[in-house]
C-alpha cells in the first residue's frame, strides 16, 4: 500500500521565539528551522510500515515556500521514496492546508495518511482531522500504536483518561502522538542518496485549489511576565511560606 506523510517546516523546538518589535508577527529571522517533531514521528512510522513489508511506497508532502524542500529532503533521507512540494508563499491556515492535501489524496489515492497531531508553531491540532473530514474517511488521532490488519487499521489513542483503541476502515488518516515511536537519524550516505530521489512541485492552481483567507492575524504580544520568586533554605521554610504567606495549604 501507499503511505502519504505530511511534513511541516517549523521553528526548531529549542528556539524561544519573540514578537517583532512592532507586534505584527513573531520574529523568525535567522532562527533554526526543522521538521515538526510530530511529523518526524509520522515519517518514522511510515518507514517502519515499509520495513515490515506493509507499505510499498512512502510519499512525503510539504506545503510552503521553496525552503520546505529541505524538510522533504530530510524525509527522503530518512526513507521516504519521493516528495511532493506544494509551492505557496503564505503561511496557510489548517483548513487550506487540508484542502491542498485533499487534492494530493485525489491524485495519489494512498491507503494511509500520517500527519503530526500538532504543529509546534501554530499549535492548531487540526489539519489531520480536517483532511479526514474533507476526504470522508476515518481518523485515528493522537496515536501511540497502530496495527494494520487486512482492510482496516487499529489505533491506540492517547485520550484524556488514558488509552482508547479504535478500529478504522481504510483509507484512513492517523495523527501521531509522542509515544508512537522514537525517530531515527538520517545517515550521511542516505542524505546523499536523498538528493537523487524524485521531488515534484505543484502550485495550488495546478492542483485546482483556490485558496482563501478565513482568519486575520491582528497582532502578537509576549505572554504576561512571571517574576521569579525566592529560594527557600529548607523544607521548614517552604511549609511556612505555603501556609502563612501564600496560604495555599
Amino acid at each position: 500500500m501507499k503511505v502519504l506523510v505530511a511534513v511541516k517546516r517549523v521553528v526548531d523546538y529549542n528556539v524561544k521565539v519573540r514578537p517583532k518589535s512592532d507586534g505584527s508577527d513573531v520574529d523568525i529571522n535567522n532562527v533554526k528551522m526543522s521538521i515538526n517533531p510530530f511529523c518526524e514521528i509520522a515519517v518514522e512510522e511510515a518507514i517502519r510500515l515499509k520495513e515490515a513489508g506493509i507499505a510499498e511506497e512512502i510519499i512525503a508532502v510539504s506545503i510552503g515556500g521553496a525552503q520546505v524542500q529541505e524538510q522533504i529532503r530530510t524525509a527522503l533521507a530518512l526513507g521516504a521514496d519521493r516528495g511532493i512540494h506544494v509551492q505557496t508563499e503564505d503561511s496557510l491556515e489548517p483548513l487550506e492546508i487540508a484542502r491542498l492535501l485533499k487534492s494530493i489524496l485525489d491524485k495519489e489515492e494512498p491507503t494511509l495518511v500520517i500527519t503530526g497531531k500538532q504543529s509546534i508553531d501554530g499549535d492548531h491540532n487540526q489539519t489531520g482531522q480536517m483532511l479526514a473530514a474533507l476526504a470522508g474517511i476515518p481518523q485515528g488521532t493522537f496515536a501511540s500504536e497502530i496495527t494494520i490488519e487486512r482492510d482496516h487499521i487499529s489505533v491506540i489513542r492517547e485520550v484524556d483518561g488514558g488509552l482508547q483503541t479504535v478500529k478504522l476502515s481504510l483509507p484512513a488518516v492517523v495523527t501521531t502522538d509522542l509515544r508512537l515511536n522514537e525517530p531515527r537519524y538520517a545517515s550521511l550516505p542516505n542524505i546523499m542518496k536523498a538528493k537523487k530521489k524524485p521531488l515534484d512541485v505543484f502550485t495550488p492552481e495546478e492542483l485546482g485549489v483556490e485558496l482563501s483567507n478565513h482568519i486575520d492575524l491582528v497582532g502578537v504580544e509576549p505572554p504576561p511576565d512571571r517574576q521569579a520568586g525566592i529560594k527557600v533554605d529548607d523544607v521548614d521554610a517552604l511549609v511556612d511560606k505555603l501556609r502563612n504567606e501564600a496560604k495555599v495549604i
Binding site: 521553528v11 521565539v17 519573540r18 514578537p19 513573531v26 510530530f38 489548517p94 483548513l95 497531531k117 500538532q118 509546534i120 501554530g122 499549535d123 491540532n125 487540526q126 489539519t127 482531522q129 473530514a133 474533507l134 476515518p138 481518523q139 488521532t141 493522537f142 501511540s144 487499529s154 492517547e158 485520550v159 484524556d160 483518561g161 488514558g162 488509552l163 482508547q164 483503541t165 479504535v166 478504522l168 476502515s169 484512513a172 509522542l178 509515544r179 483567507n213 478565513h214 482568519i215 486575520d216 492575524l217 491582528v218 497582532g219 502578537v220 504580544e221 509576549p222 505572554p223 521569579a228 520568586g229 525566592i230 529560594k231 523544607v235 517552604l238 511560606k241 501564600a246 495555599v248 495549604i249
Partner: protein, 309 residues
C-alpha cells in the same frame, strides 16, 4: 441566533470543563444552548439544564455517540450548526478530535485553544508553546472555537432550569468503531480541575518513586501530573503529562519535583497561581518561574515535606 456549547462528560457526569466553556460563551452575548451527545447520558443532560444562563439543552442519546467517535459526533454537531453562529467546545481530547471535522465540513476555520473572546470575533490564543499570544480575527460566517478552560472561571452549576430537547437523529458514519479503553481510575481530583497539582519528572528515577508524591497528594487533596520525560520513560501513564502537547493546568498551587522546566513543560503550568519547584540543580530553568524554590535532593525533601504538612 445563538451559541452552541459542547458539553464534556463521560456519560455519567458533566465535567467542570463545560462550566468554563459556558462562561467563555457569555462574552458573545447571545443565547447559549448545550449539546450532550452520548449513551445513557440523561443524567448529564439534567445536570447541564441546571446551569444558569443556558437556554436549551439538546440530548442525543445513542450508541453511535457513546465513545465520542469523531466521525459520528461531527455529523451530529453539523446538523445543529445551521441554527448557531458560534460553536464552542472545551479543548479536551474529545473536542480536539471532533471539532476540526465540523469546521472542515462547514468550510470554515477553527480557532483552537482561545484564552479570550470578544463579541466582534476577535480571539486571543497562545502559539509557540505559549511564548507568544496571538490576536486573530475571524472573517468566517460561523465561529468554531475550542476553549482553553484554565483561562476562564467556571460559571455556577446550579440554579437554572433549561428545557431539554431530544435529538432523535442517529449519525453512524460506519467508518470507525470503538474497541476498548484503558482508563485510569483514581480517587484523586481530575488533573485539569484540581486546586493543587504535584508533578514529577525524570528526577523521580522510576515509577515506584512516584509513591513519594502520592503520600503528599493524599494529604493535600492534590492531583498528580508528570513531565513528558517521566511519561516517555514509562514511570507513569500518558494521561498525566502536563505541557504544550499534554494537559494544561492552572491550579492554586503547582509543585514541580525533579522537573527541569523546559518551555514545553512550562507551557502547561505557568499560569498556576503559586509555583513550587524542588530540584537539586540550582540553575534549573524551573526556578525562573517558581515562587518558592527549594534546592534539594528530592529523596530527602519529599519525606520531610510529607511529614510536615
Amino acid at each position: 441566533m445563538s451559541t452552541l456549547v459542547i458539553a464534556e462528560h463521560d456519560n455519567r457526569e458533566l465535567k467542570p470543563a463545560t462550566l468554563n466553556t459556558v462562561e467563555a460563551a457569555k462574552a458573545l452575548g447571545s443565547d447559549i444552548n448545550l449539546l450532550v451527545a452520548g449513551k445513557d447520558c440523561a443524567g448529564v443532560a439534567t445536570a447541564a439544564a441546571s446551569i444558569p444562563d443556558v437556554s436549551k439543552v439538546y440530548i442525543a442519546d445513542n450508541e453511535a455517540y457513546e465513545h465520542q467517535l469523531a466521525e459520528n459526533v461531527s455529523l451530529l454537531i453539523l446538523d445543529l450548526a445551521q441554527q448557531h453562529d458560534a460553536i464552542l467546545a472545551p479543548a479536551t481530547v474529545n473536542n480536539k478530535n471532533s471539532m476540526p471535522r465540523v469546521a472542515a465540513l462547514l468550510g470554515v476555520s477553527q480557532i483552537s485553544d482561545v484564552i479570550s473572546i470578544k463579541a466582534d470575533g476577535i480571539f486571543k490564543r497562545p502559539i509557540y508553546a505559549g511564548n507568544v499570544i496571538a490576536t486573530v480575527k475571524s472573517n468566517d460566517p460561523k465561529w468554531i472555537v475550542t476553549v482553553r478552560t484554565t483561562a476562564f472561571d467556571a460559571c455556577s452549576a446550579e440554579g437554572g432550569s433549561a428545557p431539554i430537547e431530544n435529538l432523535e437523529v442517529i449519525h453512524d458514519a460506519k467508518l470507525s468503531s470503538f474497541v476498548k479503553e484503558e482508563v485510569a481510575v483514581s480517587d484523586r481530583p481530575e488533573l485539569t480541575a484540581a486546586e493543587i497539582v504535584i508533578s514529577g519528572g525524570r528526577g523521580m528515577q522510576n515509577g515506584d518513586n512516584f509513591k513519594l508524591l502520592e503520600g503528599i497528594a493524599d494529604k493535600l487533596g492534590a492531583a498528580m501530573g508528570a513531565s513528558r520525560a517521566a511519561v516517555d520513560a514509562g514511570f507513569v501513564p500518558n494521561d498525566m503529562q502536563v505541557g504544550q502537547t499534554g494537559k494544561i493546568v492552572a491550579p492554586d498551587l503547582y509543585i514541580a519535583v525533579g522537573i527541569s522546566g523546559a518551555i514545553q513543560h512550562l507551557a502547561g503550568m505557568k499560569d498556576s497561581k503559586v509555583i513550587v519547584a524542588i530540584n537539586k540543580d540550582e540553575d534549573a530553568p524551573i526556578f525562573q518561574v517558581a515562587d518558592y524554590g527549594l534546592v534539594a535532593d528530592l529523596f530527602e525533601a519529599l519525606p520531610e515535606f510529607e511529614a510536615k504538612i
